[in-house]
């Protein structure tokens, strides 16, 4: 019997290969296919399910399928023995499907199929484990994403004035719509929630409660880039709008915040999640500078090495029995050399080491950013975030791979599980060659970059400084007098993501749940009943009682009262 992980791997791999081939064909010939299914036509504007198949969507689709095939194969061992493994597999496949729908629809309505599907399936994946932590994380994830869904729904309603929702046709001349600014703002909001930009960042680290293969696929390479992808498609409409500026500031801030946070984080997966967040900030910011193709380039390259990084982390977590705290790791390179190698490779690619996958995209992004007329704040944040990336990478390596093993000794740590290491090797190939290949394919003619030597070297200098600083800081941490305790407040502030998790869970729910209770007790069980059923009932009951008092009299009084009536009437008439 062929097991499910194997068959889905083969299926997705073949799908990925064919998508990549098609993408190359499209790239060469400049062709694009456009398929429509009309769901409804009313007032001569029709709701259609649109699929666009051009080089961009084919390539992204190919990457997604490739990574997911690797991840599914990998989870064959990672999830081995889990009683609900089939559910897991189906969910991941559903996820890939929704991602596919997201990638290939350039229509604001039909994109909802993928967009909402991603939100829901990722919710189901985050709550895959039955503990309370994952329930909370899932709720935070789903609701943060729901904000984006709502934004898209409202954007659809504003888009109505165009008479159609194929935004690909309209992005070029969005200003003709009366409320184009609002519309762009809503789309940007949607993208920001999906890509976890600053006010909505809390969900991404929280979503690490999902099984690690899910994190590798969903929360690093695919789902979170959906927002970026939407904006890539939407980017012509954003030119020169307020939302673009806001996005630039928020995304650079995200980049910085995540980089800083990763330096104070102890959970292995959350560190990687924060690094993802930081890279998402990079993509978003370059996008808001107007370089959509660079963002796409970085998106693909990042997907390769970040999935690899997560898989390595998963291998580590799997072999140390669910420990995720890097304080309890260390010296893993002696026990699992292959995993350590892959992890280092991914880390280096992340830092932008020359000729690895991250280098081409990241270096180009930084140079383009430094070259463009960008404000000082964003510039500083860029430089800082680049340094911080190297810094936390060093820290991660220092804590987990080098040094002594900090855990008990009752663990059998090795990386001989071929089912887990093979996909890692597959992705490693991508992490090494992916960047260069993509650079050749996507950019047939090179970008013109013209800047002073200082700026040219800035990225390198910052990285080196960051690396050295990271190493020194880690050495410093081995101290009898911890410096973190001296700057307790700022450490806690940066270590807990600028308190965003508290603000977006407790801070948000407190008022809403409280007012829900108030409405329930004051409204539905209070005034609505008072002026509705119960109030009328008791009013009538009491008036009935009053009537009963008149009724309980003797016959004589009735007759007298009748006579009184008669007399009164006589006087009235006469």
């Amino acid at each position: 019997m062929v097991s499910m992980y194997l068959s889905s791997m083969l299926f997705l791999l073949s799908g990925s290969l064919s998508c990549l081939v098609l993408s190359l064909l499209c790239l060469k010939s400049g062709q694009a296919w456009f398929i429509e299914w009309e769901l409804l036509s009313l007032n001569s504007s029709s709701i259609v399910m649109t699929l666009i198949l051009d080089w961009m969507s084919f390539m992204f689709l190919g990457f997604v399928m490739f990574i997911s095939s690797m991840v599914l194969y990998y989870s064959g061992e990672y999830m081995h023995g889990d009683s609900n493994m089939n559910r897991f597999m189906y969910l991941v496949l559903a996820f890939v499907m929704s991602m596919g729908f997201l990638i290939i629809s350039p229509n604001l309505i039909s994109i909802l199929l993928g967009w909402d599907g991603l939100g829901l399936v990722s919710y189901a994946l985050v709550i895959y484990y039955q503990n309370e932590k994952s329930a909370n994380a899932g709720m935070l994830t789903a609701l943060s994403n729901r904000v984006g869904d709502v934004a898209i729904l409202l954007a659809i309603s504003l888009f109505f004035s165009c008479g159609g929702w194929n935004f690909l046709f309209y992005v070029e001349n969005m200003p003709i719509i009366g409320s184009g600014g609002l519309l762009c703002g809503l789309v940007v909001l949607a993208a920001m929630t999906k890509s976890a930009q600053i006010p909505f960042s809390a969900w991404l680290p929280a979503a690490m409660a999902a099984p690690t293969p899910v994190s590798a696929l969903v929360h690093s390479s695919t789902l979170v880039t959906a927002g970026v992808y939407l904006l890539i498609r939407f980017s012509p409409a954003l030119e020169g709008r307020l939302s673009q500026t806001v996005l630039l500031l928020l995304s650079s801030l995200t980049m910085f915040m995540a980089g800083l946070g990763a330096n104070f984080e102890y959970d292995l997966k959350k560190i990687i999640a924060l690094s993802t967040l930081s890279q998402l900030g990079v993509m978003m910011s370059i996008l808001s500078l107007g370089y959509a193709d660079l963002a796409f380039f970085h998106l693909l390259a990042h997907a390769l090495f970040k999935a690899l990084l997560f898989m390595c982390a998963g291998a580590v977590i799997h072999s140390v029995k669910d420990y995720q705290d890097i304080r309890m790791m260390g010296g893993l390179v002696y026990h699992m050399p292959l995993t350590g190698m892959c992890m280092n490779l991914a880390n280096l690619a992340l830092c932008g080491t020359p000729f690895l996958a991250g280098f081409y995209s990241k270096d180009m992004i930084l140079e383009v950013a430094f070259m463009s007329p960008i404000n000082l704040v964003s510039f500083l944040l860029y430089a800082l975030a680049t340094g911080l990336t190297v810094c936390y990478t060093m820290r991660l390596v220092y804590y987990s791979l080098s040094g002594d093993f900090n855990l008990g000794n009752l663990y059998s740590i090795s990386d001989e599980g071929k089912i887990m290491t093979n996909p890692m090797m597959g992705l490693s190939v991508g992490a090494v060659f992916g960047g260069a290949t993509l650079a050749w394919l996507i950019f047939p003619c090179p970008y013109m970059i013209c800047m002073s030597p200082v700026f040219k070297m800035l990225a390198l200098i910052v990285s080196v400084i960051g690396g050295v600083l990271g190493y020194l800081l880690n050495l410093n941490a081995v101290n009898y007098n911890l410096n973190s305790l001296k700057y307790y407040n700022s450490v806690v502030f940066s270590g807990s993501m600028w308190f965003m998790p508290f603000l977006s869970t407790y801070g948000a729910s407190k008022n809403f749940l409280g007012s829900g209770e108030t409405y329930q007790s004051v409204g539905d069980m209070g005034w609505s009943e008072y002026y509705g059923g119960q109030g009328i009932y008791s009013f009538i009951m009491s008036s009935s009682k009053i009537l009963q008092v008149f009724q309980d009299n003797s016959m004589k009084i009735y007759m007298l009262s009748f006579l009184l009536w008669v007399i009164v009437l006589v006087f009235v008439v006469v």
């Binding site: 009951m541 009537l547 008149f550 009724q551 009299n553 016959m555 009748f562 008669v566 006469v574």
Partner: protein, 333 residues
């Protein structure tokens, strides 16, 4: 329950009185008919020799006698001051019919009656006063009747809410229906006849049901209802029909009255009548509730057999299928 010979005698004189009064051409003749009617109903009431029935008989006699005396008094005014006379006539007839605000005797008399006498009081005894009232609609009485309509509607609706005795509930329901009938009188005789005949059918079917189950109190229904589903269906259909809920026959007269009132622009009165209809429905529903809860506790002492077979279809027909051919009824009348 076979009738004794004296009951037959008194029943026929009762009918005779009614006929006499509605067909008489003078107020004196009408008065005579009313008196005959009254005096023959008294022995019918006190056929059961207990203190309740004799108390009811006494109360009934006193009130009706008062009404009759006012009538005979105002008949003598007829020549001198016809305005005063008609006013007093109206008031006296309202008293005799048991319409609010002169309704106080009605529930307490009902309280002492057997179900079959209740039927007589609710139906036959209303014929004479109401038809006399319909002869009396001069312009100067037109403010009394609407006032009586409104008060009857409200009193009938609100008074019945707190009641648990079925006969009192029927009494208040009758007061409420009186309001509808008086508004029908204001519009036209045909409408009144229509409404009245429907009311007679439905209310007597309810009373017959109660009589068969031998219940006098809401809680008796729970204990005594024989557990046949058609009995339950009968109970709630006839009660909801009495309330005038659409699929049942009781809706037809209401519909017709509403239509006529709308065309004669009596919206304020109509609003009050509708509100009161809702309230009456509430207390009918309270009675019907036990029938509607399909499964109910069984008690061993529920001895009453189910209703005789020929009654069931006829009553269901009366209460449900009336709606299928409303035009039939208008043709008949």
């Amino acid at each position: 329950m076979p009738l004794s010979s004296s009951q037959i005698l008194f029943f026929s004189t009762l009918m005779l009185g009614t006929l006499l009064s509605i067909s008489s051409s003078s107020w004196f003749g009408a008065w005579m008919g009313l008196e005959l009617n009254l005096l023959s109903f008294i022995p019918l009431i006190s056929s059961k020799n207990n203190q309740y029935s004799s108390e009811a008989a006494l109360k009934y006699f006193l009130i009706q006698a008062l009404g009759s005396s006012i009538i005979i008094m105002s008949a003598s005014f007829m020549m001198s001051s016809s305005e005063l006379a008609t006013t007093l006539f109206t008031v006296a007839l309202l008293l005799k019919a048991g319409a609010a605000p002169f309704h106080f005797w009605f529930p307490s008399v009902m309280e002492g009656l057997q179900w079959n006498q209740v039927i007589i009081l609710m139906t036959i005894q209303k014929i004479a006063p109401l038809s006399l009232l319909s002869y009396l609609l001069y312009s100067n009485t037109l403010y009394i009747v609407p006032a009586a309509i409104i008060t009857s509607a409200l009193v009938g609706a609100i008074g019945g809410i707190n009641q648990t005795f079925l006969r009192k509930i029927m009494a208040y329901s009758s007061i409420n229906h009186m309001a509808w009938m008086m508004s029908a009188i204001l519009i036209s005789e045909t409408n009144w006849l229509l409404y009245f005949s429907f009311y007679c059918l439905i209310s007597s079917s309810v009373a017959i049901l109660f009589n068969y189950q031998d219940v006098f109190h809401i809680s008796h229904i729970v204990n005594h209802t024989p557990h046949s589903s058609h009995m339950k269906i009968l109970t709630f259909t006839s009660l909801l029909s009495l309330g005038g809920l659409p699929p049942f026959t009781g809706f037809i007269p209401k519909w017709i009255i509403i239509q006529e009132m709308v065309s004669s622009h009596m919206f304020i009165t109509l609003a009050i009548l509708l509100a009161s209809a809702l309230l009456t429905l509430f207390y009918y529903l309270r009675v019907a509730m036990t029938a509607l809860t399909i499964s109910s506790p069984k008690t061993k002492w529920s001895t009453k057999s189910t209703i005789s077979s020929y009654m069931t279809p006829s009553m269901i027909y009366m209460n449900i299928f009336g709606l299928l051919a409303p035009s039939l009824f208008t043709i008949i009348l």
